[in-house]
C-alpha cells in the first residue's frame, strides 16, 4: 500500500474513536469533539485549523437549536397542569388488551410528534408512570403473567414510544433532523424548504404504524396463547 493510500484511510480513525468512545460509555460530548480532532489532525491539518473547522461547522449548524424556543410555552402550561391534562386524555382510552392499548398509544405518539409536541411524552414522562403499568395491567387480564412475559410487555411499551417518536417527529418540519437534512443539502446548492422534506416522512409514518401495529396484535395473540396454557392448570 502506497503512502498516499494510507494517508487517505488514516482519518477514518475518527470513526474508530466514535465507536470505542460510545462502546466504553464515555460522555458523547467528549467523544464527538475528540473524534473531530482526531480526524482533522490525521488529515494533516494543524490543531488551530481543526479547532477552527469545528467552530465554523458548529456556528453554521446553530439553527438546530432554534426549536428549543418553545420551552417557555410548554413549561408554563405544565405549571398549570398540561401534563396532568394530557395524562387524563390518554387515560380515557381504556382498551381491553395490552396490544390494543399500545396501538392507541403508538397512534397518539405519532400524532403529537408530528405536530411538534414530541417532548410532551417520553420514557420518564409517560412510559414509566402510565403506559407500562397500564399495559401490564391489561396483559394481566389476558394471561397469568410470569416474570418473563411482564418484562416483554414493559419492553414493548418502551419500544412503542420510540417507534412512535422516530416515525412521527419528522413530519413536523421545524425539528432538528429536518433542519440537518436541509443544511447538509444546502452545502451542495440544493435548496429545499423544511415542508418539502417533511411531507416525505408521511409514507414511512404510515408504514411504521402498520408494521409495528401488526407486531402489537401478534403480542396480543402470544399473550392469548399463554392464557390457554394457564387454563389447563388446576
Amino acid at each position: 500500500m502506497g503512502e498516499g493510500a494510507l494517508n487517505q484511510y488514516l482519518p477514518l480513525l475518527g470513526i474508530v474513536v466514535v465507536i470505542f468512545g460510545f462502546a466504553l460509555r464515555f460522555n458523547p460530548m467528549l467523544v464527538v469533539p475528540a473524534a473531530a480532532l482526531t480526524t482533522g489532525l490525521l488529515a494533516g491539518f494543524d490543531i488551530e485549523e481543526v479547532i477552527g473547522k469545528l467552530g465554523k461547522a458548529f456556528n453554521d449548524a446553530r439553527i438546530i437549536i432554534i426549536p428549543w424556543v418553545v420551552l417557555p410555552v410548554i413549561g408554563l402550561l405544565e405549571r398549570y397542569g398540561l401534563q396532568q391534562r394530557a395524562r387524563a386524555v390518554i387515560g380515557g382510552f381504556r382498551a381491553a388488551t395490552a396490544g390494543r392499548l399500545l396501538i392507541l398509544y403508538l397512534l397518539y405518539r405519532q400524532i403529537i410528534s408530528a405536530i411538534g409536541l414530541h417532548s410532551t411524552a417520553g420514557h420518564p414522562q409517560t412510559v414509566r408512570p402510565l403506559l407500562a403499568p397500564m399495559a401490564v395491567a391489561a396483559a394481566e387480564k389476558q394471561t397469568e403473567l410470569d416474570e418473563e412475559t411482564e418484562e416483554k410487555v414493559k419492553a414493548y411499551s418502551a419500544a412503542t414510544d420510540n417507534v412512535g417518536l422516530f416515525f412521527g417527529e419528522d413530519i413536523f418540519f421545524a425539528i432538528g433532523s429536518i433542519v440537518l437534512i436541509q443544511q447538509t443539502l444546502e452545502a451542495y446548492d440544493i435548496i429545499l424548504s423544511p415542508l418539502e422534506l417533511a411531507v416525505w416522512a408521511i409514507p414511512t409514518a404510515i408504514a411504521a404504524f402498520i408494521i409495528h401495529g401488526a407486531r402489537l396484535l401478534m403480542l396480543d395473540r402470544s399473550l392469548a396463547r399463554t392464557t390457554g396454557d394457564g387454563m389447563r392448570r388446576p
Binding site: Q8, G14, V18, F22, N27, M29, L30, V32, P33, A36, A43, I51, K56, A57, F58, R62, I64, I65, I66, P67, W68, V69, V70, P72, V73, L76, L77, R79, Y80, L82, Q84, R85, G116, L117, V127, E151, K152, A155, Y156, A158, A159, N162, D170, F173, G176, S177, L180, Q182, Q183, T184, I190, S193, P194, L195, E196, L197, W200, A201, T204, I211
Partner: protein
C-alpha cells in the same frame, strides 16, 4: 426583511436569561456550571457570526468540557406536582389552546406566506420563514397565556429553564454531531467511505446504489448511535453525488427517507443510550437490551420499506 439573525438574537436572549437565572438559583448545587453552559450558547447565538472560527471552536471545546466534567445540574421546580394536577383540573382542555397558537402560527403562517402574493413582499428571509414564524407563534402564545392566566412575569423563563435543565447538555449534542459530520466531510472521510462503498455498487443501476445508501445509513447510525452523525457522511458519499446528481433522484425524497432509514439503525443500537438503555433501566428490566430486542422486529422491515420508498418515490 426579517432574517434568521433576528431568530438567533431572540433565542440567544432566551439562553442568556436562562444563564442569568441559573446563576442566582441556589437550589441548584451546580448553578455556575449551568450559567456558563447556557451563557456560552447564548454567546454563540448572538455573536457567533462575529467571532473568528478558532474562537467558535474554543467555545465548542468549552461546552464539551463543562459536559464531560459533569458541571451541569438542575434546580428544584417552583410548583409541586399536586398543585399542577389541581390547576389542570381547573383549566381543562383549554390548556392545549396556547400550543395550538404556536403550531397554527408556524404551519398556517408558512403556508399563507409561501402560497399567496405575501411572498412577494419579501418580509421574511427565504427558506427561513418557518423558524421566524415559530418564534412569532411562541411570542403570541405567551401573550395569550399572560392575558388568560396572569402568571408571574418571570414564570415562562423559569419554567422553560426547568425543562432545558432536564435536557441538559443533550440539548446541543445534535449540533455537536452535525459539526462532527461536517468535519468528517471536510477532511475527506465521507469521500473515503464513499469510495469504499462505491466499490460494492455496480455501475449504471439505481437499486443497488439505493440499497447501499439505506443500509449504510442504518449501519453508520448503529456505529455512531445517531442518525444525525451518519446523514452528512452518507449524503456526501452516495446520496448527493450518486443518487441525486448521478441518477437524478428527487433530493427531498433521498434526504427525508434516507434520514428515516438511519432511524431504523437507532432502534437497534445500544449506542443510542437515551432511547434504548435509559428506558430499560427506568422500567427496571433485567435484560438491559430488552428494549432493543423488542424493536428489532420492527426496525428491519422498516429499513426494507424505507429503501423501497426511496427507490420508487425518488426515481
Amino acid at each position: 426583511m426579517i432574517t434568521i439573525q433576528f431568530v438567533f438574537y431572540l433565542v440567544g436572549a432566551l439562553f442568556a436569561a436562562w444563564s442569568l437565572l441559573s446563576l442566582f438559583d441556589r437550589t441548584n448545587p451546580k448553578r455556575f456550571g449551568n450559567a456558563a453552559f447556557w451563557g456560552l450558547i447564548a454567546l454563540s447565538l448572538i455573536a457567533g457570526h462575529l467571532l473568528e472560527d478558532f474562537h467558535n471552536g474554543l467555545l465548542v471545546l468549552a461546552l464539551a468540557a463543562l459536559a464531560t466534567f459533569k458541571m451541569l445540574g438542575r434546580g428544584a421546580p417552583s410548583v409541586g406536582e399536586a398543585e399542577r394536577a389541581a390547576a389542570g383540573e381547573r383549566h381543562g382542555n383549554k390548556l392545549f389552546l396556547p400550543i395550538l397558537v404556536v403550531l397554527l402560527t408556524a404551519v398556517l403562517g408558512t403556508l399563507l406566506y409561501l402560497y399567496t402574493p405575501l411572498r412577494e413582499t419579501g418580509l421574511f428571509e427565504k427558506n427561513r420563514e418557518t423558524f421566524i414564524l415559530l418564534c412569532f407563534g411562541v411570542l403570541l402564545a405567551l401573550a395569550v397565556i399572560f392575558a388568560w392566566l396572569k402568571p408571574p412575569i418571570l414564570a415562562p423563563l423559569d419554567e422553560g429553564r426547568r425543562l432545558i435543565d432536564a435536557v441538559g447538555w443533550a440539548a446541543v449534542l445534535p449540533l455537536m454531531l452535525a459539526a462532527l459530520g461536517l468535519v468528517l466531510a471536510d477532511t475527506g472521510v465521507g469521500k473515503t467511505i464513499g469510495t469504499l462503498l462505491l466499490t460494492v455498487i455496480p455501475e449504471g443501476t439505481v437499486l443497488p446504489a439505493v440499497i447501499v445508501f439505506g443500509v449504510g445509513m442504518a449501519l453508520l447510525t448503529i456505529l455512531t448511535g445517531n442518525a444525525f452523525a451518519a446523514f452528512p457522511v452518507m449524503a456526501t458519499a452516495i446520496g448527493v453525488p450518486l443518487l441525486i446528481q448521478g441518477y437524478g433522484g428527487d433530493p427531498a425524497v433521498v434526504g427525508a427517507i434516507g434520514m428515516l432509514a438511519g432511524f431504523c439503525g437507532t432502534l437497534m443500537t445500544p449506542m443510542a443510550a437515551n432511547f434504548n438503555l435509559v428506558p430499560a433501566a427506568l422500567l427496571e428490566l433485567k435484560d438491559q437490551n430488552g428494549v432493543i430486542k423488542a424493536q428489532i422486529g420492527t426496525a428491519i422491515p422498516m429499513l426494507v420499506v424505507n429503501i423501497l420508498f426511496i427507490y420508487f418515490f425518488a426515481f
